[in-house]
Symmetry: C2
């Protein structure tokens, strides 16, 4: 329970503080950034709750999903890192966790001896399919946004991603 | 460098995969969620880069900011946790880090012996003012979104927060 009652809104409060401190010109940027932080917190909590029965974090799920969608079920680790836009050390950490429970395996590249591939196993495939169905039903089917707001959200983030060099 | 060239877009690719797998009805929710995850990643990287010279993470900055804006510069730890919408163990961890470099101190509540307050120090105040100026200039002044898209983003997230019980 909030000491300020049910309508307490830390982001609106922060906007007021920012404006009152004479930073009115940057308050909108501050609110946009803190809003994204809070949205991430809300959605990640839902996603991780849905994945908990599968002992998967969202990042491990994403790696399995990438492999399951790939043509051969295997990718060079560096390529997985680029595709997921996460650092190769994070991917390596995820691979270790997934390998320890038999969902992926590391194999040498068939022709390039310096490259290691990560390959999804049969158990990995069935796990990610079940986990995907759960995520689809519990989270993605209804994230709590009408279609037009969902589209506006994605469009705005696409602009942001463009400014960050994503495309 | 992406092996798929400069226009490679993992979120659009994921949307295609999701639709092709027969999950077309939930692909929009999946794209909204992964877009928020990516936006968070982009903005957090900018914020943490701006805060690095101050040896502050965003969560430690937010705690300092909250204390600096409070009437007396001190709050019960549980109240700080509610205001920041983060678990009390995370706040306690942040307090320990800030205390070790002299930016906050823990003091007993003047009238309630069971409550501990966290109070910002003078060095904490000057540090958070400098860090705020840097964040305002380097991040909040221009997040890479036109005003209408920034507003649409915040509005959509407000709807999401409502669905999550924030208000």
């Amino acid at each position: 329970m909030s000491p300020d009652g049910p309508t307490f809104d830390p982001i609106a409060k922060a906007r007021d503080n920012w404006s009152n401190a004479g930073w009115g010109d940057v308050a909108d940027g501050m609110v946009a950034v803190t809003s994204v932080m809070r949205a991430h917190q809300i959605l990640l909590a839902r996603v991780e709750a849905a994945l908990r029965p599968f002992d998967l974090s969202f990042s491990r799920f994403e790696l399995l999903r990438l492999l399951a969608f790939s043509r051969t079920g295997a990718l060079p680790i560096t390529k997985a890192s680029v595709r997921l836009q996460v650092h190769v050390t994070s991917v390596t950490h995820a691979i270790r966790r997934l390998e320890s429970v038999g969902l992926v395996e590391r194999i040498p590249h068939p022709t390039d001896g310096r490259t290691t591939l990560v390959r999804i196993t049969d158990i990995g495939r069935s796990t990610v399919e079940e986990a995907t169905n759960t995520l689809n039903d519990d989270v993605f089917a209804d994230i709590g946004l009408p279609a037009d707001q969902s589209r506006a959200l994605v469009d705005a983030i696409e602009t942001l991603r463009r400014s960050a060099g994503d495309f």
